[in-house]
Structure formats: C-alpha cells, structure tokens
Symmetry: C2
Subunit: 506 residues, 2 copies
C-alpha cells in the first residue's frame, strides 16, 4: 500500500482518470435507458428500425469502453493503490463487469444477440399455436450458446451458477437453492392447508368495470399517498409495466384493464418500490456504482416490500379505501377487510405466474428454476420440458396445464436467453420480509403508520439502510448491515404463516 504523498497523488490522478471512464460508460448506459423507455412508452410504431440501430451503437460503444486495454490497465494500477473504501468498492464493481465482458468473445455475444432477436417471434408464434415443437430447436440452440457463454466466463464453475451470477453476482447459488427448496417444501404444505380449510375469502370486492382514466387518476393517488417524488418521476402506461431511470429521474409505468382495478393498484405499488429505490441512490454517486442500485434480488426486495408488506396489508386498505371510493363510488359498500381479503386470496388452481398470489407465486418460480438447472446441466432434454413442466405443476400445485401455451411456453424469458433470472424474483420477496422485519425492529410496529398513510419512517429506514449505499457493499454485506444477520428465509416464512394462518383460520 502506498503511503508517501507523491504516490498518493499519482493514485488520485489514476483514480480520476478511471472515474471519468466509468462515468462515461454509465452515461452511455443511462442514455440507452431513456431510449428504451421512449421505445416502450412514446415511440411511434414504425420507429423500430432506427431505434434498434441507435441502441446497438450505444451498446457496442459501452462494450468497447469497458473492455478497452486502458480499462484493464487502470484497474490493475488501482488494485495496488491506496484508495478510500468507496473507491475500492467502485474498483471492485468495475473489475467484475470488466472480467465478465472481456472473457466472452464478441462473436459469441453477437451470436447470442442475433439468436435471441430471432427467438422472440418464434416463441410468440409457438405460444399462439400452442406448438412447443416449433420453439424447441431455438431453445436447444439458446441452451447450448448459454452453456458456451458460461464456459468462457468460468470454465471451472457450475455453468448455471455463472448464469445466475449475471443477475445476482453476490448471493451464491447454494444459498439461493437452499432458500428455494425451503420455500417449496413449506409453501406446498401451507397451500395444502389453505386448500383443505375451505375458508371462503371475500373476493368480489373489486369486481366490476373501471374506467381507464379514473384508474389512472387513482394510480396517481396511490403514488401521492406513498410519497413518490413527482419532480423526479412520472407515470405512464406500458403493455408490460416497468420502472427505469436514475436518482434524478426514475419513472414508473403501469397498465389498466377495465376488469382488473386491483391488479393496476398492486402493479403500480410494485413499480413504485423499484423507482423509490432508484430515487434513494445518492445524487453525488451518479455515474459510478456508488450511485447505482444493487442487483436484481435487492431491487425486487424493494418492489415486493411495498407491494406485499404495505400494499397487501390490512392497514393499507383501511387508509386507501376511502381514497379509492372518491374515484370509484361503486366501492361504497366494500369494507377494508373485504378489500384486504380480495388482495390476498390464494389461487391454487392458477397456472399463470404473472397472475399468481403471494404464496403460489414461488412455486411457479421453483418449477422454472428446477427445469433451468437441469436443462443447463444437460440432465434434461429440451424435448422433455413440457412433460416435466406439467408433472411439477401437478406435484406442487395440484393442477396440470392442458396446453403448453399455458404451460412451459407462457413466459418470454427463455426466448431472451435469460436462464438464471427467475430465482431473483423469489429471493427478492424473501429479502423484502427480512428487511421489513428489521425495519419494524428498529422503528416499532408500522401498522399505525400505514393506517395513517405515513410512510416517512419506513422510507427513511430504507434510504438509510439500503438505498443510499448504492453498490458500496456487496449484497451479503448490505443485508447483514441492514438486518444484523445473513440472508434468511425465516422472516418470509414467518410472515406468510402468520398472515395466511389468520386469513384462512388455520
């Protein structure tokens, strides 16, 4: 470690040069983010050919800046230099991205990109025609390319672990697997109990037809009530809701369906959670990993915390129902308890992940996870996917898809070549419960706050313990500091057992 002033000064210069480079890459990425938002939300339909070229140019510029020899040289110099803790964190994050991007040949990246571009229409057609065989050769090709990709990144590692680490670099696959197995075992049992209880929840609270414009006004009310910062955000609609942006400008999208008011409310709260995380990143970290969010599990923990622990809670509906009634007088006769029950009904006969409740959701994820692992390891042939898929649905959920369209073809992710992505959805929910418990541990029971529409304490806690750190800490470090213990499914399982035990009188 350098200690004399001259050497420190050199390290400072090197770090400044490195930081400029990192900021440049970050700005190119954020520009691409705006272009993608624009494409999903406002771009005229025939704008695609030009937009595809613009995005491809930005992506290759970003790749070239990151993988340039100069970046490698700076990383090496800085890894030997005397840096502050924050600087060390930036170097660590950039090193990880640099190693990954330099280890995979550009031709393979391009082949994957081309194959997935063509895979999307093939998958869409196969789903429409309920014809898995049309998609099978593409899926085989993608599995093969992704295995090859993993081999380049780390020839000694389990290829699925390599793919998983693309989305969640700091939680190891064993931990993820242990958590998912526990969810599977305990949730299957809980859902069976619920099914056996034959309790009848009030589920018609939100049936009816709800005007789109009024739903939009209500979505703005939801965001107002949660404390969304409109000076740094906006709300629009998109066919597949998402949120994107930076700490200066984090936008929410949602969608409205006439017969699904509840779905639009919960989806808006979910996307608020993502945007709210982004808005909590420190302004002065903009352009480096210190001002960027942690990976997918942590991001999903923020959306799930707000969607489930706040938005599907009884006190939330006590507070929010009067607001909803102002927009929709037809909710006059609905009680908060009925709204709460409607928001938490468990559908054990549902086949579709994106329509799942808080419990069965994780079984949808576990099934995909188990199938993905075996596909990538070679223990499962692509041709056998539909049968294995259906068997698992029967085993875990007691319901068997009648078609592949509502079975293994339902999700778009595999056509993107995204293997290892699904688990982060469950890990995020699990982490949400752990963080929420820690927040209540520090702040006391939050029920009264939520009932009063008072979210400053909760949000302040999340800002202080999660958001403001950006990527300064690795995910396990962040979790340990925020909650005082390692990542665990205990809190999630406690939460669902208590909540659903009461709801269904178990």
């Amino acid at each position: 470690m350098a200690t004399d002033p001259a050497q420190s000064e050199r390290a400072d210069d090197t770090y400044d040069e490195f930081e400029s480079r990192v900021e440049r890459i970050s700005n190119v990425g954020n520009a691409a983010g705006i272009l993608r938002w624009d494409q999903e939300v406002v771009m005229p339909e025939e704008g695609t050919p030009a937009r595809a070229q613009q995005l491809s140019t930005l992506s290759s510029i970003s790749h070239e800046l990151l993988t340039a020899d100069e970046t490698g040289k700076l990383l090496e110099e800085l890894e030997d230099a005397d840096l502050t803790d924050k600087q060390v964190a930036v170097v660590r994050e950039v090193r990880r991205r640099y190693d990954r991007e330099t280890s995979v040949p550009q031709e393979l990246v391009e082949e994957i990109s081309e194959t997935t571009a063509n895979a999307h229409p093939t998958w869409k057609e196969a789903k429409e025609n309920d014809d898995f065989e049309t998609f099978a050769p593409t899926l085989e090709k993608l599995v093969e390319l992704k295995r090859e990709y993993a081999e380049h990144v780390d020839p000694d590692a389990d290829p699925y672990a390599v793919l998983f680490s693309e989305y969640e670099p700091y939680l190891d696959l064993e931990t993820a697997e242990r958590v998912l197995e526990r969810l599977r075992d305990e949730l299957v049992a809980l859902i069976e109990e619920i099914d056996a209880s034959e309790s009848d929840l009030e589920t018609d609270a939100f049936s009816g037809e709800f005007d789109d414009d009024d739903q939009e006004t209500l979505a703005r009310d939801v965001l107002d009530s949660l404390g969304y910062d409109w000076d740094r955000g906006r709300l629009d609609t998109a066919p597949h809701p998402f949120s994107s942006g930076t700490q200066f400008d984090a936008r929410v999208t949602t969608r409205f369906e006439e017969d699904d008011l509840l779905g639009s409310i919960t989806s808006t709260i979910h996307e608020f959670g993502h945007a709210n995380y982004t808005l909590g990143l420190p302004d002065d970290g903009y352009g480096t990993p210190l001002g960027e969010s942690r990976d997918l599990s942590v991001h999903e923990s923020q959306s799930r915390l707000w969607e489930n622990h706040v938005g599907r809670s009884r006190p939330f509906w006590e507070q929010f129902l009067p607001i909803a009634r102002e927009r929709f007088p037809e909710l006059e006769d609905v009680t908060p308890e009925e709204a709460y029950e409607a928001a938490n009904q468990v559908y054990d006969d549902n086949l579709i992940r994106v329509e799942a409740d808080e419990l069965t959701y994780h079984l949808h994820i576990v099934i995909r996870f188990e199938i993905e692992r075996e596909l990538i390891s070679g223990d499962l042939e692509v041709a056998d996917v539909p049968e294995v898929w259906n068997d698992k649905y029967e085993e875990y959920l007691g319901v068997r898809p009648e078609t592949d369209a509502e079975g293994c073809l339902q999700d778009i992710h595999w056509s993107h070549g995204s293997f290892g992505y699904f688990p982060t959805y469950s890990l995020g929910s699990v982490l949400a419960a752990q963080l929420y418990a820690a927040a209540e541990d520090d702040l006391g029971d939050l029920t009264d706050d939520i009932r009063a529409g008072e979210f400053d304490a909760l949000n302040g806690w999340l800002r202080e313990n999660v958001h403001q750190h950006g990527c300064r800490y690795t995910t396990p470090e962040l979790i340990e500091q925020a909650t005082g213990e390692p990542f665990t499914a205990d809190y999630f399982l406690e939460y669902v057992e208590e909540k659903y035990g009461k709801l269904y009188g178990l």
Copy 2:
C-alpha cells in the same frame, strides 16, 4: 481514378468501413436527439443534472469518432478512389464536418460551451431587469470567442462568413447579403404603402378564449388534414415548439395559449413542414448524409412553405374553417375571408420578431443580420448595440423600442453564441416561395387542391424534388434541379406583392 477490379474491391472495403463509422456517429447524434426531445417534452424537472452529463458524454463521443485519425485516413483514401456519385456525396459531407471539427482546438470548443452555458442565465436576468449592461461583458466575450473560432476554421475568410456557413454551408454570404438587402429595400417600401393605405382588415376573427384540450384536438385535425404520418410521428406540447427526429420517427411539438388559437394553428403547420421534410428522407439512407436533411435554409423553406403558402392562403381557410368550427362552434359566424385576413394582417408597430407577420418578419431578421456583421467585423462596439438597434427599428419599421428588453435583449440566440443563424430564417422563406412557384409550374395552380384538402400532389412534388435527396446535392445544386434556376428572391417578392397588394387594395 481506379478502374481495375482489385482496386475497386479495396475501395468498396474502405467505403464500408467508412460508412460504419459514419453510421455510428449518426446513431450517437440521433440518440442525443431523443434525449433532447425527452428533456423538452417529458423529463421531470429535476432530471437536468443527469441529462446534462448524458448529453455531454454523447457529444464528446461523437466528436472523438469524427475527428479520429482513422476518419481522416479513410477520407483521404476515398477521395482518391473510384466511388459512385452517392458515395462521393457522403465523403464530401463528412469531409466538411471533419475539417471544421479538427480545425478548432477542443479547449476553445469547451470554453465556448462553458461561456454559453453561463451566458443563458445572465441574458435572462438582463432581459428581466431590462439591463443591457449586465449582459454586455458576456456578449463581448462571446463575440471574441466566436471570432477566434472563425479564425481557426479559415484564417483567410471573412469571420462572419465562416460563422454563417456553420448553419448554411453551401449558400455563400454574398448571395445571402444580396437577398437580405433586396428584402429590406422592397419590403420597407411595401410596408409603407400598406400603412398609407389605411385599409382595415378583419382581425378579430379569432379573438376569444379557446380551451387548451380543444386546441390540441384541432392541432391533430390540422396534422391529419395535411397528411402527417402518425405511425412515424407524434404531437406533444413544448414551451418553445420544435420538431425533431429521423425519417422513421419525426415528432412535432406545439403550444397552446388560450387567447391565441391562430398562433397555435400556424405554429403547428410550421412544425409539420419541418417534420414532413424529415419523413421524406429516404429510409435506406438512414445513418449517412444521404438520409439526412440539408441545412437550415432548406429546412426552413419546408416549414415556411406549409405555414405561409398553404396555411395562410385563402383556399386553406375555405377548407379548414368548417373543421375548426366543429371544435369551436363560436367560430360559426367567421367567414373564410375573415379568417384569411386575420391570418395575414401586417403589424408594422410590432417590436417582437416571434410575433411578426410574413412581411415585417424579415426586417427583424435584417436588423439582427446587419448588427451581427458589424459586431463580428469589429465595426460596432457591444456598448453601442442598443442604440443602433433602436435606430434601425425606427428607420425600417417606424417604431422605436422603449426598453432593451423589447429591443436587442428579446432573443435568446446571442446568448447561445449563435451568430450567423438568423439569416437562414429569411433565406428559408425566400426559398419556400421559389419552390412553391416551381411546384405550381409543374403541377398547375394548387388552389383547388388546397381548397379540397388534397395535399398529395404538392407533397409528392416536394418528396421527389427535395426530400428524397437528403444531402446528396449541395444546396445550390438542389435548388437548381428542383426549380430550374439559381436561388432568387424574385418569387418571394412577387408572391408578397401580389398577395398583400390585393389584401390591402394597393
């Protein structure tokens, strides 16, 4: 010139490499265009710090790609190679941009950029306080920097000619000057005649208060009626209306003021003209100058042609007034003739350029042009600008500004360091008349078409003779091919003399 096949093949490879480079620069520029549209139209107000960094990164990447040694090497090779006519045009355009950007030291570019960034708030404050002296030192600095800039680009040329060529590279300053002097002399005389005629045009046709939402619906009707391609465009509002984009996605913005329905209609038609030019550029030229519009005068000719020759014509109001009445029943009693008169009243006592009519507008431009020339040549001191400004208004328009806020501080352009930009506004109007006359020469009188809301023939003529060529021809070549003669003010002066002669019974 190379003629043997092996040499041709090498030229092809070199050209392909060159073209990829040019496309990359173009894609970065178009991405920046989307970011600027976003900033003006949808960005939340606190998004500025991040957006400024994103735009600055894209601009320096684009500068580096253009001025790289590799670009210079490719240009030299291609200038000796056997190329197609289209390829020669692309090389010519890129060479021009390359020479300019490599001739100016990057530090000077950055100093200008920094000075203009600070000049904007200074100008704004000076205008608000009607205090020219606050702005004077900044203006002096900018004049000095811009002189220095011109010296780098071409030490042997008139510095103002160099600055003018930034906006209009192919029309020389002598031509521009001749045209502007003719406009001044003939329009001053015409406006005096109008003033002396004491004719009273119907100018109250559009007085009243008009709801913003209904104005927006009507703006969409206007665009529908002109044939705007909504699959490749959209309409939004912006404080300073503009249009931007590419042939795949050319967007229009406009603004609505409750007491100025006519202003929103003419501004929408003006921006349609710009977007319609962009949409007429060839799809297969996207990414190179073959798919990019010519410079500011040609662009302005397209907006002015639609705004003035179509939108301020009698048959347009015969066709459009019934449509406007559907949105605004209060226009029931207005006749097409009254609407036509209202759209064409000459305001000789108006001090503000952006509120000017089709005639006095050019005197506002001439005054700026004359002052700019003398500022840059050093014949006029910054301190004397307000007096010279006011004298010229008195001389040409017979009205003297009482404050600098409504005098020489009214426009933002000088605070941007934009000297040489204003003339293109007038040159565009002049060219619009020349093109419109040539179109009628080919297609016959367009009155019946306009009265029927039938714009395909006119638009087809513009597509064929102007839009589809992108930057394949220089501006003088384009004008000569489209109209059969060199750039001339004859048609503009004939047009205004006939139109205003009849309107005011001269």
